[in-house]
Assembly symmetry: C2
Homo-oligomer: 337 residues x 2
């Protein structure tokens, strides 16, 4: 291991000078700087992370807490995680991966030990038990998601309420009157993960304004569950012509089942999805959908965090505006209805 002192000696300067060359916190003459940089190169010097963290009380690490659940929206989570890692690196930070499993203890551990300078939490529940800790600590944090009480917190999320509204507006404009919503698995609602409920709220209140009828059914993914759900929907509301799907694992089963039942998409039935673009374009029918901007969410979260770490921080709720892309799965309501 090459140390700072060795570099200093090799370059004929003091250790502090090398440190200042590295950090840029004091001005250094061009000549000295070059000499030091050459020595660093030649010796293959890498600053020791531990020593640096100890001396500066900064680890240059951001902790990212991802949900452990393997049962839902995995690609979105993965995409966010990768976006976080990539943006963090671009700002000179590394990312520590924590699983949701550890819960509040992980927050305590990481902030207490100075392992990370800041945290990003994903999969935030409406009344998340980690939030009180975040409010107490003076380490910056950003949530991806939107809890009920946001005082003192910074959040980044898609505006799911507007998303729900946007979906029904689209269907309403096409003349659909009876809408069915295929939601996430029941467990997601029971956990009070905000985004599912917010979508529903936005969707319902806009529907009321537009005079649409809405039937909401949570649904585990897969064919069997979807078949059951679909049967019950048409049982209860035979006139249903519009579907809003917010469950990646239900998208393909729904399309297959509709096809099987002789209901053509989009001639007889329109489908609007809330999902990542990739899912929308790879489905058997190219889906009209509000895309979940996973990458942007990750990027924005990091940018806010870095801003806070550098002092020019701001408590803020960032709700990304949803964008609906019309593709092949939605069309005018059949005139008969």
């Amino acid at each position: 291991m090459v140390t700072l002192a060795e570099v200093a000696q090799h370059a004929g300067v003091s250790a502090s000078t090398v440190s200042y060359v590295l950090s840029g916190k004091r001005s250094i003459s061009a000549g000295t700087r070059q000499r030091v940089e050459r020595s660093i190169q030649e010796l293959g010097y890498h600053p020791n992370a531990g020593a640096r963290a100890l001396a500066s009380s900064r680890s240059n690490i951001i902790a990212l807490m991802v949900p452990l659940r393997r049962d839902m929206y995995v690609p979105v989570m993965m995409e966010i995680a990768i976006a976080v890692a990539t943006s963090a690196r671009a700002h000179g930070y590394d990312v520590l991966l924590l699983t949701g499993e550890e819960g509040p203890d992980a927050v305590r551990r990481v902030t207490g030990s100075g392992l990370a300078d800041a945290m990003i939490l994903m999969d935030v529940e409406l009344d998340d038990e980690r939030l009180p800790l975040l409010r107490q600590t003076d380490r910056p944090s950003v949530l991806i998601g939107l809890p009920t009480d946001t005082t003192g917190l910074t959040c980044v999320d898609l505006d799911f309420s507007a998303t729900g509204a946007l979906c029904v507006e689209h269907l309403a404009a096409l003349g659909h009157r009876d809408i069915a919503v295929i939601g996430e698995a029941p467990a997601v609602y029971e956990r009070h993960t905000g985004f599912a409920e917010r979508t529903l709220d936005g969707l319902r209140s806009r529907s009321r304004e537009l005079g649409l009828r809405v039937l909401h059914r949570p649904c585990e993914g897969g064919y069997d569950a979807m078949a059951l759900t679909l049967a019950r929907i048409f049982d209860e509301r035979p006139g249903t012509t519009g579907f809003v799907v917010q469950n990646e694992n239900a998208v393909e089963p729904l399309l297959a089942l509709l096809r099987q039942q002789g209901r053509a998409v989009p001639e007889d039935v329109s489908v609007v999805a809330v999902c990542p673009d990739q899912v929308a374009t790879q489905a058997s029918v190219r889906l009209t959908a509000v895309s979940i901007p996973a990458q942007e969410m990750g990027r924005r979260a990091v940018e806010h965090l870095v801003a806070k770490l550098e002092g020019h921080g701001d408590e803020e709720i960032v709700l990304l505006a949803p964008r609906l892309t019309v593709r092949a799965s939605s069309g005018p309501a059949p005139s008969g209805s």
Copy 2:
């Protein structure tokens, strides 16, 4: 921030005693230990990670390098990553998330700075440019995947060669003679990611022994690509009755297209997949499949790494034996053929 010294004072012992209570590296009388532990509790002490790393030259962090690509086998990657994080915690380590993007530089950075004690690399290519660095450094590492030259390396992977063989054996036993293999996207082969080629090798050589004919076609995911691929397969080999699919994004399109063409699964055509269990059970036909034991791979990688870090390490190639689960997508070849 509460420090070790403060705990020591509060408990009426020296700092080193507190340290030994924490690490267990020297024996401490029951009375003293309890007093110290109570002080730790009362003061809410958390050891400073940086100081610890500096003094002990151990960060208790394992770096995990995940592929940046968002185009393939995402759920598998995610599952491995989560399994790594969970197992690592169980052994007292945290996980640093690196993206493949940074390439060899990340390896240099992390090992050089002592940020992590060891690394796990995913998505290893046959002739990966990170390997020379790993061989040079004295920090332990484990690959998930299998490069061409494994000297001096520890690898954990599914035995994809045996996997390929197992798939055709199953089909052969059912009387199928003409097999088509739907592979990963062409890019995966071009990158020389070992697993795809190894599956193919195992599959081909066993087919030769069993007297089967094999047609291999890489395939991007999605319906359009799959439709094209499928048409060409039946064009070239109209008698094809067995499919082996190693591409999550092609599974559902394949099933849908077969259905659409009036080919019943498993009566007319059998399908064997190589995919995680979840995909196999959630598909529109419950798939006969060799499952990819993502969790076990992650767990085993961590266990090997920890063993190395604790000294009783061993260079070793761990190839997990594939297991084929028969479900509803495979059956006897149609007698006509």
